[in-house]
Amino acid sequence: MASLKDKLPAIDPRGFVLPLLLIVVWQAVTSSGWVDTRIIMPPSAVLSAGWKWLNSGLALESIGASLFRDASGFVLGAAAGITIGLLFGTSKLANNVFGPTFHTLKHISIFAWIPLLSAFFGRDDLAKIVFIAFATLYPVALATIEGVRSIAKSQYEVADVYGFTPRQALFRLILPAASPQIITGLHLGLIFAWLATMGAEFLLASTGEGLGMTVIRGRAAFRVDLIIFGMLIIGAFGMLLNELATRAESRLLHWRGHAR
């Protein structure tokens, strides 16, 4: 058993030097009037604008709308990704027929799909969610393929000996054996989904609320304080999602370790 100390790395105070320095410099240059405070807002202004926004009710709506898009897109994309991954991983024929196309299309940077997606799905939530699902699909599918391929031949032979039906093979052998990679893929997919959520809100301009939309409108209204605060919130949620995923990942893998 790993000791507690291993799990909680000792906090090294030196790590705080840089962020603190940044805040001090930031405060100093703004309060000294060396810079145009319309462009570089003091930290206090950012905090107070953020506080106002958080209390306005609009914040909850924005965060809720973004998380909803993120979650819907992620779930759709993850489901599709795992399905495709299992198909390619288990069936040589499917892999040989569809694989090359799949692996070629992957090189089209995801944002380049936006104009095509908007032609097919408009610019509202549907288009955004499809885009997020799309961004999630690739990392999940690729990880799943890798996971399924890493299953040793001998394990399949064992399954053969026990006379597993394909269904049994899937649930008792393939999924459990490939789960570390799949979980890593899901983790990565979650990061991509959040990135895509922001990208969709920036690039698929529409009415409605969202964190990305708040920031982009903050830019249009020249609200630097709101932009910075919005960015911090976006980053914080990104980290939160990552952290949750990391914990879920280690817990799941831990559990799996016991189950074996």
């Binding site: 790395p9 922001m198 976006i234």
Partner: protein, 284 residues
């Protein structure tokens, strides 16, 4: 060790490695099987093309959503021969090149600092890992405020995207330099420069090249995003233009170009990476 592991674990980057294709080098022994595979791989795209043709002939989808293949081909030929495509491509590539150079240098410096000096790591790592978790595109509105919407915006946004993979790869590469090699350095009483040049760099080279490849892919991703956001030239600009005028043929040509460049980046840098990894001192 496990402390370092948990610190290292995370970033967006490590898992990113799994996004990159595994290019299997086919053995030359089973050529017929290989051709069979290639043949199978071509079936699906051909089928798609056929379906596309039928779909446009029978107007399953309105032409504004699905222009006919011949029309898209004509557009491609048109755009290539007029030099329009090449012009925009050149602009985009230039942006990526500069960003990779700038972001790469910064990333290398951060990676080397964190990898070689425990003190530097203690100062830098927490801020760096925080920084690396912000989606690059979330930075863009702030970048616009600071840098305007010109080249500075594009270069800075793409640069930010490049720094993280470079730094992580370099750092990890140096972390993984075999202890024996380090000991050799100590025995010979290498200076810092010598350690860097003779031990750290060669040993970490494959990892760094891996970082170059990831950095280039990240740069390409960020480029398309930032060009879509605001630009007056480049492939992303062409995409916006065509989208707003419902020229899906041009959109498709742009996407194909973007995909092709991504593919070439990946293969070329992957090739270099493999080439150098054979050289690297083994002995882990």
């Amino acid at each position: 060790m496990s402390t370092i592991q948990s610190l290292d674990k995370p970033l967006v980057i490590e898992p990113l490695a799994s996004l990159l294709p595994r290019i299997s080098i086919p053995s030359l022994g089973n050529l017929p099987a290989r051709f069979g595979r290639i043949g199978l791989g071509i079936i699906f795209p051909l089928l798609l093309l056929y379906l596309w043709q039928i779909a446009t002939e029978r107007v399953w989808l309105p032409p504004q959503l699905l222009p006919e293949p011949a029309f898209v081909w004509e557009t491609l030929v048109d755009m290539v021969s007029s030099g329009e495509l090449a012009g925009h491509l050149a602009v985009s590539l230039q942006r990526v090149l500069w960003s990779v150079l700038i972001g790469g240098s910064i990333g290398l410096a951060i990676g080397f600092a964190m990898g070689l000096s425990k003190t530097a790591k203690a100062y830098l790592y927490p801020s760096f890992s925080l920084f690396s978790q912000f989606p690059v595109i979330a930075w863009s509105p702030l970048m616009i405020i600071f840098f305007g919407i010109d080249e500075a915006l594009k270069i800075s946004t793409i640069t930010v995207a490049v720094i993280v993979p470079f730094a992580v790869a370099t750092y990890k590469g140096i972390e993984n330099v075999p202890v024996k090699l380090r000991e050799v350095g100590q025995i010979y009483q290498f200076s810092f420069a010598q350690t860097l040049w003779r031990i750290a760099l060669p040993a970490a080279l494959p990892a760094i090249l891996g970082g170059v490849r990831q950095g280039a892919m990240q740069a390409w991703l960020a480029l398309v995003f930032v060009e879509l956001l605001a630009s007056s030239e480049g492939l992303g600009y062409l995409l916006v233009y065509a989208r707003n005028l419902m020229q899906l043929d041009v959109v498709m040509v742009c996407m194909a170009t973007i995909g092709l460049v991504g593919l070439i980046f990946d293969f070329a840098l992957g090739f270099i990476e493999r080439h150098f990894s054979r050289w690297a001192p083994k002995g882990r």
